[in-house]
Symmetry: C2
Subunit: 312 residues, 2 copies
């Protein structure tokens, strides 16, 4: 089952879909269920009940007729892993611990939903604006000191993340800080797929396409620190909450083909990690991230407003 | 004027105080004002109006009769600066850029209010649990690309922050991650003081006391990157929002006196930065941070629950 948020006539609403083509608003299927995603995900048995109701429901509304929104709320924690693929470690030359996940936080404001524009900074601010295709893990059941072998019981589902990064700002200092938190610089979605359907994450693969050209491709079996290990580690200090998300890190760039002039031209790379096959996102681009079993996260890249003082 | 949150019979409510001794609930002074702190701080003229109403109001309720709560909401962004005092850079031996603020994020869950217990991790998890007395800057007016010379117009007020840190976890990897985000490991409060009353932050000073012994003491004129510069920098990528907070970094340890056996005993320091005068927080301690013009942020240190699996 897919859990999603969409723009309703009255605002933001949650829905469920079996096939990613049509959906039912949760308010129509089960009016008694909570409308806040955190409460819904934390409610024991709620997703199972929705799956049964969905299976018994008639034809739904076409998903193409609605605008998808980020399905998590502003108050959730968005954890992310740096340098969790060997190929990305190699291309950046950055170091990481082999014993512990390399964690940092993003704000909710740094993410939009699938189909919504992600914002490229004005060129006067930064030029090295990079996609990062990642698996996103959504927490269901709250927990502390979760044993690795029970960690996946705390996962409500999986999604796709574009952990858009502004490299110049990311390298301004040792903590990534602002470079990973530009306004609407990343995205997640299009929905969350429940684990019964997605299965073992390590059996899936990821592909990032910029304007149709494949720029990242990797199996998810190549993670340095896995999903269960990361959940268990975080829970040693932080109470994982329903609706928290963990973005599991991005693979390196796919080597460019012979006729890929753009991917081979390092002179057009402004960031600290010039890498064959890496191409920055620019206004007018379309970035798509596909994970087998999850679907496609697709975002147009649009120029942010010019770098003038605004109080809006 | 002081803006605060307190435990009301019906839940969390906002109040204002002129003297830090008595207060009026905002709902009583101005029932038409928004009850959400983000909306209130973003409403032009709301604080000025509250100050006028407060000046004309009769005697208020004693503050000692209520429980203070964190005055910001869960959906705000909590930015923090690392290594922003020369004395702290010297004691850690860590490096920082001299050109850019060293920024990272904390979750709302890592903070409690003044008077509430902060939680020391079980000793089986970590022992180097450290106070960090800091100035907290609360954003009022939203903004992007804010010029340095207009940055302070976006500050709604100032508060005190204990940026409690679990050093072992902080040093597990290059991003601080979980080490700065243990559950209820830090605090802020007791309230926010408006800039008309607090004045120029650099003219104030900070003192951290553990069980009555002064452990940090510094003027706030010693910041590597100042308040206005940090606000301006963040706004280059992130839209500062009403109720966002920026913790401005902590000074180094005060050298211990001759008769301070605990402060001179480096064998009792478990962290990566053994420093004379640094003493870890342990259950049973009382930690107080005082900033001139802001008051005292005071928290008992209480042992977190043992490191057993919990799903609460």
């Amino acid at each position: 089952m897919r859990l999603l948020a969409f723009q309703d006539s009255t605002g933001r609403a949650l829905g469920v879909s079996a096939d990613g083509l049509s959906f039912h608003p949760i308010a129509a299927l089960a009016p008694d269920l909570p409308t806040a995603i955190e409460t819904l995900l934390g409610l024991d048995g709620a997703l199972d009940r929705l799956a049964r109701l969905l299976a018994a429901a008639g034809p739904g509304r076409p998903l193409k007729d609605v605008t998808l929104l980020p399905f998590l709320g502003r108050s959730n924690a968005f954890w992310a892993l740096a340098l969790n693929f060997k190929t990305h470690i190699a291309e950046t030359g950055l170091s990481t611990s082999l014993d512990y996940p390399h964690l940092f936080l993003r704000t909710a404001a740094s993410y939009v939903g699938s189909g919504e524009p992600i914002l490229a900074p004005p060129e006067t601010i930064a030029k090295a604006f990079d996609y990062e295709g990642e698996l996103g893990v959504v927490i269901g059941k709250a927990g502390r000191h979760i044993p690795v072998e029970r960690a996946l019981e705390h996962v409500a589902g999986y999604t796709i993340v574009n952990e858009g990064s502004v490299r110049e700002y990311q390298m301004h200092n040792r903590q990534f800080g602002l470079g990973k938190n530009f306004e609407a610089s990343g995205s997640y979605g299009p929905w969350m797929v429940t684990p019964d359907e997605f299965g073992d994450p390590t059996r899936h693969s990821l592909e990032t396409r910029l304007n149709g050209v494949v720029r990242q491709r990797s199996g998810l079996d190549d993670l340095l620190v896995g999903v269960a290990e990361t959940v268990a580690y975080l829970s040693q200090g932080y109470r994982l909450r329903p609706g928290d998300m963990i973005a599991m890190g991005t693979p390196g760039a796919l080597p460019p083909s012979e006729d890929d002039a753009e991917g081979r031209d390092l002179s057009r790379q402004y960031g600290p990690f010039p890498t064959p096959g890496l191409v920055h996102m620019r206004p007018g681009d379309l970035v798509e991230i596909e994970i087998s079993g999850l679907g496609i996260l697709s975002n147009p890249v649009v120029a942010d407003q010019p770098a003038g003082y605004r109080i809006d």
